[in-house]
Symmetry: C2
Subunit: 261 residues, 2 copies
């Protein structure tokens, strides 16, 4: 397939490279920032464009890899054309926002991309969807050339998957930041806690996370919970989070256990 | 040193094995549950005891590795003796709860232990403290035989470290559980999201977590945040957490950025 990439951010960059490696050339790049479009186009040997009307006639697939809010407006500016698939890459955007086009699809890579961190795209789970069977099969075939982990996922399931990812990835990274900032206050190094972080993740490689929960809330160790809340008194936002999450954990483990007795 | 271990849980078990490997025999084991004491004693070739008065005269170090609430009562039951160090292993318990004894210390392993997961204790950060210089140096020397990562940490810093660990380890594991439960609802496999979880942690091996934050809150993508909150409507506890953490992230990244302009 010949591809036009709309977007030049982290997803657009990593996806473009993977497409090219799989023998599907990205021939045109557009970005809200012309400079970024030129940069990415140069990197991958494509042409940069500034006008959606100049998307080449022989492009088979237009990928919209931009921020969620921009998908619908960009879709409305792309000329309709019968034999071209329009796809977006968003976790939380229904496939129907593309519906003015005859063939539409979704190609959602479930991974966290950073500009300067190289990734083996073959291991990135790709969640795909097509508005019709033929289109879905075409996107499935393409996706299987890009990754070893391809799943058909509906728009509503994809949204739940994205929310899951926010908890398991974005919010956990925020808690690493909280941890780092607390340690800085006592001039302790964040490195001190890294073995604990890595081991926490190692454990879920082979166990369900609910089976390896530890900590004062899991034990309903009220004395320790009270001490921690007291220390966080001058950080009300963190104190509130500590209280709520601990309550949830106590509810899940301690109350469930006592009602089972 | 000859050691008596009071406690037979995860910390007591892993610490006992590490002590023995380092040439410091654990000769006696006590536990609230006699059965557990006998079990651990058998495993490590020690004697189990049921009465603190029978702690042998030649024991140099008594380690209290029990739940935080039980440390003070147990300390008060241990006969006072001049040349014996009494130590606990808790993150959030001040060394002063042991102060009726002449020599006291803390040996806090900053790691998450599970019964059946073997661990290289040499890589477990050990935070140590002694109530007097001589005792602290003795505990430091012992700790350095057990681990390559030993730090002197005061009781108040140790508490902050423990709170950091709750956020970075216990709460993140809880969020893995949340993620797993959301995926189960849509009959998607938790395995689908594991590459994302592992990559999130990989990124902080070489970067500060605050520099690799991603997600809708980081971008202040209001449309997506609103969609996610709507989906979580029938899960008020999760919805509240989603709202609060997203607000914190927006505050940290978006508001900080706009006030810097």
């Amino acid at each position: 397939m010949k591809v036009a990439m709309l977007g030049a951010g982290n997803v657009a960059t990593h996806l473009s490279k993977a497409l090219i490696r799989s023998g599907n050339p990205v021939v045109q790049v557009w970005s809200r920032s012309e400079e970024n479009a030129v940069d990415l186009a140069l990197k991958i040997g494509a042409n940069s464009i500034t006008d959606f009307a100049t998307i080449a006639d022989d492009v088979d697939l237009v990928i919209i890899a931009v921020s969620d809010d921009a998908i619908a407006p960009i879709s409305s500016l792309i000329p309709q054309k019968n034999n071209r698939i329009i796809a977006h890459t968003s976790g939380s955007t229904d496939i129907s926002v593309l519906s003015r086009h005859p063939k539409t699809a979704v190609l959602y890579p479930l991974q966290t991309f950073s500009k300067n961190v190289e990734l083996d795209f073959k291991n990135v789970p790709l969640c795909i969807e097509g508005a019709d069977v033929e289109t879905e099969n075409l996107i499935l075939k393409l996706a299987e050339k890009l990754s070893n982990k391809v799943e058909r996922v509906s728009s509503s399931d994809r949204m739940l998957l994205h929310i899951s990812a926010v908890f398991a990835c974005n919010f956990t990274n925020y808690f690493y930041t909280v941890s780092q900032e607390l340690l800085e206050e006592s001039s302790l190094s964040f490195d001190l806690i890294k073995p604990l972080i890595f081991e926490t993740v190692n454990k879920i490689a082979d166990n369900l996370p609910q089976d390896v929960q530890t900590g004062p809330a899991k034990r309903n160790d009220e004395q320790t919970l009270a001490k921690h809340l007291k220390i966080l008194e001058n950080k009300p936002a963190l104190q509130e989070l500590y209280r709520l999450i601990s309550q949830n954990i106590v509810k899940k483990y301690v109350e469930a256990e006592s009602s089972a007795k």
